[in-house]
Amino acid sequence: MTIKSFINRYSSLLMALAVLVALFLFWFVGYPQALNYQEENQLFLFSTDYFFSRFAVAGGLADWISEFIVQFYHLPWLGALALAFLGVAVQRLTLAVVSHHASETWTLLILSLLPVVLLTGVMGNENVLLSYEVALAMVLAATLGLRRISWWGDIVIVPLLYWLAGPMTVLYVLLRIVGDWRKEWWTILWLLAVELMAYAFILDEYPLKEVLLGINYYRIPLVLDTPGTLWIVPVVVVLLALLGRQNNLMGWLDRAWVAACACLIVAVAAVICIECWYPKDRYELLMQDWLVREGHWQDVIDRAEKYQVRTTYSSNAVNLALAMTGQLADRQFEFYQDGPSALIMPSVRDNFSNLPSAEAFYHLGMINSAKRYMYDIQESILNGRKSGRCMKRIAECFILNGQYKVAKKYLDVLKQSLFYRSWAEEAEQCLYDEVKINANPEWGYLRRVRYKKNYMYDYGQMDKLLGLLVVNNNDNKMAMDYYMAQLLLNVNIRDFMNYVGWVMQQRGYVQLPAGYQDAVRCIQSHGTAPGSVYAGYVKTRVMSNGVNDKQ
């Protein structure tokens, strides 16, 4: 068998293999941070209650399957593999649906990649949920598997599919019409009637828009944000099915140059998808989030050395990484500093912005603040899901506070998950056991360095809060670094100069850290020291008129 005949014979299989490898590499090498983001915004539980809670709304089965898959994103290679297989399923199903009435031409084979390419593009919007792709696969499978069922079967199939996969069922209806070339338009009206009945009698908590367009395809309720991109893929599938119906074009579609054009279309679509729907800065921040979560501090710094997004979030993440690796005093102003919020961001009501600040609070020993930020982050997940990451941290905070009864509530939920179970079971062993908790290196340390007295939190007085943390325990080296860093960010030169000697002594520095040297040089030269990175920061602050009056 020649290579050409081998390729011709196994073209379809080779294509599937290529899709599998490409998608795996795309997610595992290219965008593992996207997997982390999805995983940290849900918590799949192995319980019947959880299953029925998902199943209680239209599209619930797709949602449940989606969350089942997303839990494996905890291990990026496994998540990428799962996504790759799902992508292959979509491609194979598309090809089967499209070429049902036609011979499998090269052009159709290549064009069957288009939905999966666009789908991958659409998922560049991190709020598009995997249930969207699962629903698409379910509907394509239903179209293929139920094609011999008579039209009257749709009286049952349409509502059933609507409940299992959601409004993506419209694709089933359209593909049936296109596929059989029959004018059974009543099925569209039937689907609409089903949706309206569900709205009137079952889904009384959901707005009509969500009942018609999807409750669980998008993290943000559709009444707040309706991305039009969600409908690109179904439209393309229908167009491909229409193309597949054109028997008179089959000869034409078999030509090499047409296949080459199809290749070009797919390639251009792929480039456009990545360029337009995977914004560099956004994905850099998601990467920082992942690295911070995993505690890969040096990787955060290494990436920031090459490229740093100029946002408060990025400053928070990089400064935390610098502190955790003992470099904050030396290198803080080598990196972008977004003003006085560069260490800790004020409370923001979304599920992402405060994550590095919450981590910083935790490592500083500001346990209540860490708990508060994590709590609000979790409650800001707009589809009401819980976060395994947040729940774990909240449980830790309750343990550190000695609130074991509440901690157990959280641990018992985490014990129903796959990837947090073993941690939760270990943590449970520590409940009510002060010796065990204090012997835990992290928990024991945090209990020692946390506030000993009760103060009222005031974000505007962050330097004082950090100062009190130091006063409460001189061993809290990170708090010392943060305190001095906050003084510098506030351009509070008086207090910085007052305390720098004491901090030198407490921290055991043999010589003044490079960052402090630079700051002192800047201060002594009244901001004119050549090459001073701190002088650059002060200049920016003066220009933005944000310097406080303590300088």
Binding site: P221, N368, R372, Q403, K409
Partner: protein
């Protein structure tokens, strides 16, 4: 012979399936059960007081309930799950009597039968279909998946009234009926397209109550018994957080005043005594509607002086015929003098009692760990703590049933974080009975997995019939009737 085998087989099967506690070891100890229903007093017709035996080693529970006036029911299984109809019949039959509960617990191969305990069936019927409440994740600045719900008291069914899913991104305040009758109620939506809903006689009116001296939408509402007026507090609520491990947050208001809305004219009625620099909050009309109770604290520099917030309970005359306030303000309890804060006054609908919360500080009791329920006899002005109902944790958000013999309140006694609902009854002498936790089908499973807190409960005489889709459309549409200030 074949028949005998079958009978023998079926008998064995029956015996193995219904493992009865015959031959149980008798213990003199009371059983450890969740919730603690020992010696509580319940109304007849309440949902069954199902319970779980405490402990990881429990294999099976067997409970026998015997009425002092006759009747007996049993439950067996993973937890004591009584039949609803049987329970209702038993409680009806034993109204004014007691139920004796004998609990046996199987651990491993052996049963232990514990000392029986009593559940008292009150002679006072609870005249309510159910409860309304808000479920909200307890804590900080993000409300999360918030919702107002109603729950049947005769069984375990819960129904949403209005949830955040229907109006994403909006926060909703609680549903306040007129003397528990949901034919008249008010509620408030905050956030974009916020407004005050006044529902009367099947008609919903959306109002914008911000006008002139009324600087914010109305909250903490109370209906005048006539159904014509509603008193609201108008305030700005803030939170500050603590760094230590024992306290979570401090809630305070930067301003708080009280106004009364005339629902017939959509006019706001103001009184200078209720709109001064002091903070007036939690208004409540008296049973006869002739006065308005409220809490008041002097102007302070907040949040800095949060520890100095000490509320007094005051009352001011109100004339419903003219819709005017009197001039003389009575101080029933002086917070500054007593170094306490008297908050959230709730007069009983029969005019006999005044229930309120006492805490060491603050005008937002749910955030105060030492908040306790107190009662005052309005005939003698004698006051006492409801020790039967109080715990080391927060007790607050109490409301009376229509006949004023029952009250519901929220308590954080379980874990210090999540508020749960308790019901208790009051006799003619003002004595409260040991409260019972709102029953659930499987209480431990339900409450342990429930991460939301119960907020602002009230009784509902009948089921609330509100078209959530219509309400959501009204909210999103944003059409509001502007109220005016009565000159």
């Amino acid at each position: 012979m074949r028949k005998l085998y079958i009978i023998f087989f079926l008998t064995m099967l029956l015996v193995s399936c219904s493992d009865s506690p015959n031959g149980a070891v008798v213990s003199t100890e009371l059983p450890a059960i969740y919730p603690d229903y020992k010696d509580v007093t319940i109304p007849s017709g309440i949902a069954p007081l199902n319970f779980n035996a405490v402990g990881n080693d429990v294999d099976e529970v067997y409970a026998k309930v015997k009425g002092s006036k006759g009747g007996e029911i049993t439950a067996a299984g993973d937890y004591a799950d009584f039949d609803v109809d049987e329970w209702h019949a038993l409680t009806e039959r034993n109204k004014g009597g007691r139920l004796t509960v004998t609990v046996s617990v199987k651990r491993g191969d052996g049963w232990t039968q514990y000392r029986p305990f009593n559940i008292f069936v009150s002679p006072y019927r609870l005249d309510a279909w159910g409860l309304t409440y808000r479920l909200i994740d307890p804590g900080y600045e993000v409300g999360g998946d918030i919702g107002i719900y109603q729950r049947s008291l005769a069984d375990f069914n819960e129904y949403p009234i209005l949830t955040e899913k229907a109006v994403p991104g909006r926060c909703m305040n609680c549903h306040t009926p007129n003397r528990t009758d949901p034919k008249e109620f008010t509620s408030q939506i905050r956030g974009e397209n916020g407004g005050t809903l006044v529902y009367k006689n099947g008609k919903a009116v959306w109002l914008n109550t911000k006008t002139g001296p009324v600087k914010s939408a109305g909250s903490y509402a109370s209906w005048h018994p006539s159904g014509r007026y509603v008193a609201y507090a108008s305030n700005a609520v803030w939170q500050n957080f603590f760094t230590g491990k024992n306290e979570n947050l401090e809630v305070y208001h930067t301003f708080s005043n009280i106004f009364v809305l005339d629902t017939e004219t959509n006019q706001v009625i103001l009184a200078p005594q209720l709109n001064d620099s002091n903070q007036e909050i939690f208004p409540a009309f008296s049973a006869d509607g002739k006065s308005l109770f409220y809490s008041s604290s002097p102007k302070l520099n907040l949040p800095g002086e949060y520890e100095k917030v000490k509320c007094s309970i005051c009352s001011i005359p109100f004339d419903a015929a003219t819709g005017t306030f009197g001039t003389k303000v009575d101080t029933l309890l002086n917070g500054r003098r007593d170094n306490r804060s008297y908050i959230l006054v709730r007069p009983s609908y029969d005019g006999r009692w005044l229930m309120y919360t006492v805490a060491s500080r603050s005008n937002f009791p749910i955030a105060q760990r030492d908040a306790d329920l107190w009662m005052m006899d309005l005939r003698t002005h004698r006051a006492w703590p409801l020790t039967e109902c109080n715990s080391q944790q927060t007790e607050s958000y109490h409301n009376w049933s229509a006949d004023s013999h029952w009250f519901v309140f929220s308590s954080k006694r379980e874990d210090g974080v999540h508020t749960r609902l308790y019901l208790s009854s009051v006799d003619d002498k003002g004595r409260a009975t040991k409260p019972f936790l709102l029953p659930q089908q499987n209480p431990w499973k339900y409450y342990h997995a429930q991460f939301k807190a119960y907020n602002v409960p009230d009784f509902a005489l009948t089921k609330v019939n509100l078209n959530m889709h219509q309400v959501a459309r009204d909210i999103l549409e944003g059409k509001r009737t502007q109220v005016t200030v009565r000159k």
